[in-house]
Assembly symmetry: C2
Homo-oligomer: 600 residues x 2
Amino acid sequence: MQLRQRVIDAIVSGSLQPGVRMPSTRRLSVDLGIARNTVSLVYQQLVADGYLTGRERSGVFVSDALFEAVRTGRYREERHPPAASPWRPRLQAVVRAEGEGRAPPSWELNPYPFLDGAYDASLSPGSEWRDAVRSTLSTREFAEWSQDGGELDDPRLIHEIRTKILPRRGVQAGADEVLVVGGRRAAFSLLIRAFVNRGTRAAVEEPGFPDLVQLLRLQGAEVAPTAVDAEGIVEDEVDRGAGLVFVTPACQFPTGARLSQKRRRRLLEQAEADDRLIIEYDLAASGGFTDQAAPALRGMDQAGRVIYVADLCDVLGPGLGLGFIVADADLVRELRRLRTLIAGPAPRAAQRTAAFFLSLGHYDAILGRQQRVLRERLNALRDALNYHLPQLVAIDPRSNGTAIWVEGPAELSARQLANEAARRGVLIEPADRFYATPGAAPNQFRMGVTAIAAGNIRDGVAILAEVIRSLTQPSLDQLDPQAHAWMDGDALRTKMSGAKLLCRTAYGDPYEVDVLPDGRLIGKAGYAHEDCDVGSWWMEGDFWCRRWKEWSYGETARFLTVVEGDQIRWYRSDRLLFNRGVIKPNAATDDDALRANLAP
Amino acid sequence: MQLRQRVIDAIVSGSLQPGVRMPSTRRLSVDLGIARNTVSLVYQQLVADGYLTGRERSGVFVSDALFEAVRTGRYREERHPPAASPWRPRLQAVVRAEGEGRAPPSWELNPYPFLDGAYDASLSPGSEWRDAVRSTLSTREFAEWSQDGGELDDPRLIHEIRTKILPRRGVQAGADEVLVVGGRRAAFSLLIRAFVNRGTRAAVEEPGFPDLVQLLRLQGAEVAPTAVDAEGIVEDEVDRGAGLVFVTPACQFPTGARLSQKRRRRLLEQAEADDRLIIEYDLAASGGFTDQAAPALRGMDQAGRVIYVADLCDVLGPGLGLGFIVADADLVRELRRLRTLIAGPAPRAAQRTAAFFLSLGHYDAILGRQQRVLRERLNALRDALNYHLPQLVAIDPRSNGTAIWVEGPAELSARQLANEAARRGVLIEPADRFYATPGAAPNQFRMGVTAIAAGNIRDGVAILAEVIRSLTQPSLDQLDPQAHAWMDGDALRTKMSGAKLLCRTAYGDPYEVDVLPDGRLIGKAGYAHEDCDVGSWWMEGDFWCRRWKEWSYGETARFLTVVEGDQIRWYRSDRLLFNRGVIKPNAATDDDALRANLAP
């Protein structure tokens, strides 16, 4: 096949001119170290295809006739368009460039891509995919799916979606209630074409999908952004006049919040009261960390108001471009007609491949594998943020996705941070592009783990911390070395011996440390002390030193310490504030009273 | 793999309940006649994937935990939607059902599918396709294309399009001037989103693509249908106020007419004069019968007014869903952004497969193969129409596509014909659905050859002819057996001996027959007598009998004959008119004078 390709390239590119005699099979087989039979076979095929011509007793020649057009049609690398582009005044739909603030196309070249949704090769279902593709290649299979099926989807894929994916999401659907589409965007585009016209009011989550907002506005909709908090979309703030609301209950995009049960019920009640349709995009069907116990809204919906959308790309990989819609059969019929018009059905090759992929059980296996790996990475990211940026960032601990939503210091520009960090190989996503409201959340950003290896997370966060400090330094609490305001070594040793320290992690969890006089440390983290560790402490001059067994990577850390009343602050050797907490001189003091003093 | 799939199906469907002990590998290998190693391997994989659990010394069991959700989520076959569908009043875009007058999805079950564009398996590039797919499956390839490439297309596919397809069409394009899309519909949809808004006037060919008209109207355009004749779109009738015109110069859809050079130039001049964009859909890039010498309009365009669209599905098969747009680089950039919003890029797997397909040279080979086969079929269809329906149908001989455009008797309802014929296994396409104007061309229909085997064409046309006669019989010229109006055998023999007959084929070509007194026939068809044949004639009672060597399938035909002046009419044994012509008693008479008498 390689030989075939090379010969054709040479003919098409003109390296082998028409009429040229090809080397004999004997010579070529010796030159290339290929079996002579193979060369003969390739020549025979190329003769049959018209690229080469065999002349009796004189050999094989590059064909004169067939490629006249190919050879004569030359092409330039660049074409200079006329100065005045006649198409430009006629352009009706101008779409904002998505480039700004987005991951560069060559993100794989960066060592620290904290991106969400861009999957690294280790998570791609390569071998499973190949199994599935090979299954579609048998003559019988090929004959079946390669036919033009008209408007209909591959019934096998529909079956697999209904039996392997939807039951896990608590959704029941007949074969006539599922429509296969080209992915999330194709689904949104189709539904917006169906339901939105000039003046239609549509509520979206804020922050949410930026392309959804653009698409709605392109279709003439009035977009009503609705706030999102740690429990997901604030259902009471949905515009009462909105005929549509787009939600991501399982795992809010992009914050990762999970919609609470109370809000789910309220959202459905309000849709009924206000005569509204809910378009549910279910990230849980596509992978990620999902609460299997929480069924999709579509599964709770008794009134037929929820249209369910899922994308298969997170499990199958982005190369296949498949997703699906679940809706009432009549609506699926309408949508199918509209789909025929604007796109045609999703390619049958991809559909059959996906059907095999699912029928071979790879969906569950891949989901399981991805979740194991991503959970590990997410934990590593939390640990690293906590270690390197404990005072700088606020993280919502309830986040449910494959990314952590980070709020930096108030004066931080996340966009500037992203640009500076990118120069050092660290990619993060500024949050503002997820907001429909311009200028919102300038100090927030997102860090995802689907693309970064676990082993690179700590170093990436360390670099990010340096960049954040360099951008926000003036506002940081910094120890003045001239003032020598820290506690003297001997005094500190006395103060610490037998004390209890109360602190918070970067993501808000409390932890406490018993500083035993014999040099041991006992640490208990979490509201139920679910994460414990032991370590040791000692003094080196004025530096208080500690090393945990597991926490903080089991590394030795040295701090200068300031104590004012029951407030304690630790500074790193570069005099920058590392963390703060409350010190309780002896273990007899009441814990709760001290907790009340602990800054939130 | 089959075993794996069966086990998983059994678990998911509940046939194998959790906790059930699987048969031993030894037993299963004996029962199924599979090597024991294979069974072990499958078990090991299923254990690794969590479907099965191995317990030491007791065997392999169906896993308890993993499939809780799969098992508990039951699904119904049918779901009864609430009586009042809440989505219906909100539906903005209602698309006409395309079903009417269209080929049924299961057209392969019909023995005589005279369809265009539905490809039978023998024309599918099955083995070439498999080659290309296998090439994409290597680990290195997979890692490359399975990554999310963002908005960009596969550079390899772009390269192949630029070097293998476009030069044949006389189009030069830089890499930044090509955009890959999901096919013709996706291309139209994208361009219409870009250039059409409420009130935009757009000219289309009449007849033309029905979905294009619907899509334009959905977007709010005023559609201006423009007549098509044997030279393609009548360029002078394009609405002067139209900002866009959609044309199919290489092979007009659906009539197959080729746009003349004069009209091509005029179309470009007018676009410049009226400030109009031309959207050219080039069927020649997708296969079919094409005049390689006529470059695409885009190749002639100096002013940057032509946007070029091609679909790859006719060559690659409909299963891949790929096409492309060629336009100025700036416009491609705008369109790419819009595409990102409404669909995302075409799936990378399909793009890379197509790139391999083209790089392996299959495009030219398949085009060549398809053209050989389709030309043979098209000739068979012409012959059959000429043989079975010479007086009933009019065919444009210049038609250039893979279908023949047929005009039936004036009183024929092509829709009724299609329905009646479909009952007897003959599928044709009534022409009215290709018209934007309701009720146009009720007696016209299209017969394509991409789906029907050459060997079935004659029988299919024979059945179609019977159905046409049954639907139009009252108007047919029928010989009254009582009146005995035909010429007596002896008189006819005298009349015919040495005469010359002048006739026309169903597709309008003239042919003449010398009836030699010695019983031989010499036939010359075509304006330059490019098709000649010899045969013999004799009398059987009143029946004039003839048999050609090649023409009319070399079969004996018997006719009753009516001669009035120089007009001659032949009737079949069922007394139905077969054909008419002019008889010239002796060869000395001037041909041209007789030709003038020949009914057109």
